[in-house]
Symmetry: C3
Subunit: 352 residues, 3 copies
């Protein structure tokens, strides 16, 4: 069934145009192999879906992210988290085929990354049960519809959906879990999926705690804190775009410094829970949607600093309902700054 | 005054185009009578306003819905609910005339259904007092403005307002009631306007409880649970569109089964409080805004299932503020699925 | 630096077109002086920014508002409030220059009023600390970005941003304050920045309490209650537009009467906390965005009455999060009524 549907998408023109910086040695044979095999092509879309969580439209980045999550989930004793991610990814790509989405978006993994994050987040915040897997499958399918809907709603404004579909569908399902006895919240210790950090280790003045906060900010993008995973994620990011990797580190660094100066709780900072949203904002505004230059960098840094504050605001706004904030602050700040810049970029500078 | 305003709308062209399936025997003389009398015409608009709650643009469906509500309100000892609905309907149609809305929308009852629901909901959730009636009149007038505003805001997106103006204005007024000593909440037993269901009667495995849940899902669309009303509503729906009646039953059935399997509270399910939103979603996506076919049916069923979950989410999100969720989950899911489908329908299928 | 940037905007065409009713005697020499001096020009933009809080695009109104706030803040022993307003205004105008916003908007003060309100509100609701000033500076800069973003998002709908950027950024920062130990809420007695009103003085039937409520509704637009400030604000408003001053008084009057009749808490009404949002709605719909006439006046009055209710709703919705409602009810109602009217005004009346 899936194979038949995939066949319909084998025109293969949209793909040719995309370049994969820094990996052309590997990319060409992989692309040729995908052209010849329906299953490999389906695999390629799913891997790119994993890669798009950090805006990387290439299979190798996606593969490294997947390995990072699998390794982290195994090491922390929560294999259901990695399983949920893979299941949701496959369901979403299949649903996108059934819904006849556009070829280019499908081949770039744009219908996968929201489901992938949802598939990781649900088993992180809900206890394992048969109904959890129903939630993952249903949520993954709906995430494709939400991706189409949000993209359509934002079309008049000319801004991208980023991870809004993930935040919307996941929060709805987590809120819904309160109403049904068939699903239950995961044990509090598992929430946020952090290795417990003793207070003395979270001292912001200890270099090790600082480095740990930096690493966890990276791995918390995928809803968990595990240092080896962070290294793999950084490599996966650098494989796709060195500039993205640089802004990711800069965003996390800014978040750590700003949060400590403002008096955030050290344990949250060291666990990476304060850093992953500013990191995403910095990558999006500095490396993905902005032209290289000093003005773009200043703008991205301002946005990352503001994301630290908005993250605090989201905690005050969303956690009273018994659900996490996910990447809501990243979405809000990125939308604000992208919307504003449209106007600015239309206008030539004073010298021009 | 109203008569004079109505006169301005007696061009009578817009009306001719609409067909009224299954009731052409009655429709033609009624239309002729309306053409000759300003007051009958005003009555026709109001009846269609009642009919549009379930998307029916004909006076007979509206009349049957009105009788259903009057009967139910009388039987349950809350005549103020029926009175509020009629009062709001008349105020809204008059306000629409003063605001000089478009003829076609006015004649189709599109400026009435949100006010009608508001006029039923306010006396259900607020105690009777002089200020309650001020709220009903003011809310009905503002609901017309909200209908125009929401329609205008959604125009770039190409999706309909459905019952969003009702949800918006009613929730604002119910929230406002907390701030003024002149209005008070209705007694808790009256909230939701349900006949008390003893726990043993709500057992999902008893066929009678199941049938009751099905019926109440229909009558709760009009904010109450009363079986004879449900039958009248179903007849009113079938008179306008057999397909709509079919999807209504299917939506309610799906909601009951899904909610029970997920472990929802049996009493809520049997009282129809879990079913009326999925019912509305199924009718909207399956019978009103979708072309007939298997794909549309699958899509509508997926949406109805998701509405059961979103309804649970809305309870967790909205009830902490001391107000009901009304049809918020239907609005959200219908918008998401309609927005997404725009994209899909634009693209020809693989075979085309 | 600022001087150099200002120089780039010295084309001076956009300014010529605007008329300043009722002050042409003073306006011409002032305009000439601004044309010759970069610093005066920068001052002019800032003063107009203060004036735009009440939609007045002239420097004299802005100056009178500034004096009103300075006087009130001094008299009530909270100079930080006036200081915050001025600081935010200057930062925002500088940020707007760096962001290369459009000349006309900059010269009309449209990038200043949201920051000005934010600069007054933050020191009202947060205790003085080094971090408070960081919040003011950062918030002022971000308010310019939010102003651009909201304007861009509303462009397809054809409605203005009004004070939405102020509400958005200020609420985010006040919510964020909960997450950081470096900022703390101001003492409860200072919140709302009201002179304590003894219950007997707040009796709505005492003419003095009624007049006080009227005056405080004016001064609460700038987040405080002080009668001499109210007089200055009214003068500043009348200097710019007698019609705006009339609708301001009418809006406040309506709010007082409606709130008392509905049973609002007398102390809140007398303190002006119920009146400033309806006042803003009345000015916006009656004097700024509507053509003069009876229909516009009726529409503005209906909107002002509804704003009293929506203000009550916002208190129930927003205060549980430990933050004030600011001008959220004014923004919501004004948007609804402007969106709706677009449709109405497009359609010629029945006689035309």
């Amino acid at each position: 069934m899936i194979v038949a549907l995939v066949g319909n998408h084998l025109g293969g023109h949209a793909d040719e145009r995309r370049e994969e910086p820094g990996m052309s040695g590997l990319a060409t044979p992989w692309r040729r192999a995908c052209g010849g095999s329906v299953l490999l092509r389906f695999l390629d879309w799913n891997l790119r879906g994993a890669g798009q969580v950090l805006f990387q439209d290439n299979a190798l980045s996606g593969l490294l992210f997947l390995v990072a999550i699998g390794w982290g989930a195994g090491a922390l004793g929560v294999p259901e988290v990695a399983l949920g991610g893979v299941l949701a990814l496959v369901v979403a790509t299949s649903a996108a085929l059934w819904l006849r989405v556009d070829d280019a978006g499908l081949a770039a993994g744009l219908y996968g990354y929201n489901a992938f994050l949802l598939g990781i987040a649900l088993p992180t915040f809900l206890a394992v049960s048969p109904l959890l897997w129903v939630f993952v499958v249903l949520g993954a399918a709906v995430s494709v519809i939400a991706t189409l809907a949000v993209a359509e709603a934002l079309k008049p404004l000319g801004i991208p959906a980023v991870t809004a579909p993930f935040v919307l569908v996941t929060l709805l399902l987590l809120l819904a879990a309160h109403a049904f006895s068939g699903v239950e919240a995961a044990a509090p210790t598992a929430v946020g999926f952090i290795e417990p950090i003793p207070p003395e280790a979270a001292d912001p003045l200890r270099p090790l705690a600082f480095l740990e906060g930096l690493a966890h900010s990276l791995s918390q993008v995928f809803v968990k804190g595990y240092v080896p995973s962070a290294v793999l994620i950084l490599v996966g990011l650098a494989v796709g775009s060195l500039r993205a990797a640089g802004f990711a580190l800069a965003g996390a660094l800014i978040a750590l410094v700003v949060a400590h100066l403002m008096g955030a709780e050290s344990q949250l900072v060291t666990a990476g829970l304060v850093g992953f949203n500013p990191l995403l904002t910095a990558v999006a505004l500095g490396a993905v949607f902005g032209r290289p230059g000093v003005r773009t960098a200043v703008y991205a840094i301002l946005a990352a600093v503001f994301t630290v504050l908005v993250q605090g605001a989201m905690v005050a706004l969303i956690t009273p309902f018994g659900v996490p904030t996910l990447t809501a602050s990243f979405v809000l700040v990125t939308w604000l700054f992208l919307l504003a810049r449209l106007d600015v970029s239309k206008r030539p500078g004073p010298a021009a």
